[in-house]
């Protein structure tokens, strides 16, 4: 029983997650590809890939360069107000979760890889 409780605490405290629409979405690692893309399952069983890219939208007038330096980001592209950054290897979740909490940031999450399901 203690072990199960401990496992629950470890998962809760150290399990991986991201933020979407002000919700914390839990992720369970299922595999890692040779090029470092991690594949996670969501609670509903869907699979998401996370590489070394993140999508961030800042509030107007924010010094983006400051955050590029702080988090060691490389700007790849900007689509309208959304910045696509490359992160250091294997840090996309960690960095985007930190950035999500910044008051200068509207949203931040990995540039997820989705499996497109025709319906």
């Amino acid at each position: 029983m203690k072990k199960i409780f401990l496992l629950f605490c470890v998962t809760f405290l150290f399990g991986e997650y991201f933020y979407s629409n002000n919700k914390k979405i839990e992720l369970n690692l299922i595999s890692t590809s040779r090029d470092g893309v991690k594949f996670y399952s969501l609670k509903n069983g869907e699979i998401l890939g996370v590489g070394n890219y993140i999508l961030v939208r800042f509030k107007k007038g924010v010094d983006v360069l400051k955050y590029e330096k702080e988090f060691n980001l490389t700007l790849i592209k900007k689509i309208k107000n959304i910045y696509i950054f490359k992160t250091p290897f294997n840090q996309a979740l960690e960095i985007s979760n930190k950035m999500y909490k910044l008051s200068d940031v509207i949203f931040a999450h990995p540039d997820f890889i989705h499996i497109m399901k025709k319906r």
């Binding site: 933020y19 969501l42 869907e46 939208r57 959304i82 540039d111 997820f112 497109m116 319906r119």
Partner: protein, 349 residues
């Protein structure tokens, strides 16, 4: 005799008048060989009775397709591939995120997009089927089988760049993200010269309560489309939940007759996928292009309609079908009800 001459003279005078404003354009579409089996479009007594289809299972076009055909309206379809050589399709513009060019890449399992496109815009050319908005312009945007979120955003941006009035999405990922929602919000508010691009998503075919999962169809500012069957009831597979907006025929026992990849390479061995084929096209993937076609006709009648205008019409003029009570005009299994083209167009000034 004098009065007869007077009458003939009057007739000639009448014919000589060329008043464009008083001219009613009557489109000819009823000679499509497979129209009789397109039960989702209009009532065909013999076909309906032979197949025991509910008389209200169609979208109630009531001859309005003679007047409206989606002319001048651009519908972007984001999907796997379209057969640009199909005899019944005219594709105005293409873009592929695979080739990063106008050239679409073919794969033997890319069958879906040709079926979706035909439902919207198969031409009235006496060759096969009739798309609901058969004179609309199709912009086909090819997606990958797995994509980065940033690529998904680029596809929507491309649709906007190519002039889309409507974006039809017969796919989903059961996920949601802030970045895609941000893009959708921008297109629906600022696209189409601030009138907003109308974006539709299929709700999916897993009989799932979408309140328990995430999905693109749940995003704000999109129209979430579920499917009905030939009994004019919610198809058993159609996902449901508090974000479902509207139902359209998607088929179940009987599919939606539509275009197929030419020759033997498609769902069927013919150029068309018929309602009773083994691999008949059915699902919310079929319902969504029907609704996209309907919205193309609405925009043809009044190009100034916004997303909010269209949602108001859906809320107030959909058929409240099914066994579930509608509270404030909706329930979670049918949304605001099933599309009724006749009511929708009559509601537009």
């Amino acid at each position: 005799m004098k009065s007869l001459i007077f009458l003939i003279l009057l007739l000639f005078i009448g014919c000589g008048k060329s008043d464009k404003e008083n001219t009613i354009v009557v489109n000819s579409y009823s000679n499509e060989p497979l129209l009789y089996q397109q039960w989702s479009i209009e009532y065909n007594q013999t076909f309906y009775e032979d197949n025991q289809i509910d008389k209200d299972a169609n979208i109630h076009t009531n001859d309005l397709l003679k007047k409206y055909s989606g002319k001048g309206i651009k519908v972007a379809v984001i999907d796997d591939y379209v057969d640009i050589n199909h005899e019944d399709l005219v594709i105005s513009k293409t873009y592929s995120i695979i080739t990063n060019s106008e050239r679409l890449e073919y794969s033997s399992d890319y069958l879906h997009g040709t079926a979706v496109t035909g439902v919207i815009a198969a031409r009235a050319n006496k060759k096969g089927i009739l798309g609901i908005a058969y004179n609309s312009e199709i912009i086909f945007i090819q997606m990958k089988s797995s994509m980065r979120e940033s690529e998904m955003i680029e596809l929507f941006e491309k649709a906007k760049e190519l002039g889309a009035d409507i974006i039809s999405c017969s796919w989903g990922t059961y996920t949601q993200s802030d970045a895609l929602q941000d893009e959708i919000n921008d297109l629906v508010i600022n696209g189409r010269d601030k009138k907003g691009i109308i974006i539709l998503f299929a709700v999916g075919n897993d009989n799932k309560n979408l309140d328990e999962v995430d999905d693109e169809s749940k995003m704000k500012n999109v129209i979430a489309v579920g499917a009905t069957d030939s009994d004019n009831k919610r198809a058993v597979y159609s996902n449901y939940g508090s974000d479902l907006d509207v139902m359209a025929p998607g088929g179940y026992y009987y599919g939606i007759t539509t275009t197929d990849i030419l020759g033997n390479d498609g769902y069927s061995s013919d150029n068309y996928n018929l309602y009773d084929d083994k691999n008949a096209f059915a699902g919310t993937s079929a319902a969504t292009p029907i609704m996209s076609g309907v919205i193309a006709l609405m925009l043809e009648k009044n190009p100034n309609l916004t997303y909010n205008d269209i949602m108001e019409i859906i809320k107030n003029y959909s058929d409240k079908i099914g066994k579930y009570e509608y509270v404030n005009g909706r329930n979670d299994y049918y949304g605001y009800g099933k599309v009724n083209l006749f009511n929708y167009l009559n509601a537009i000034k």
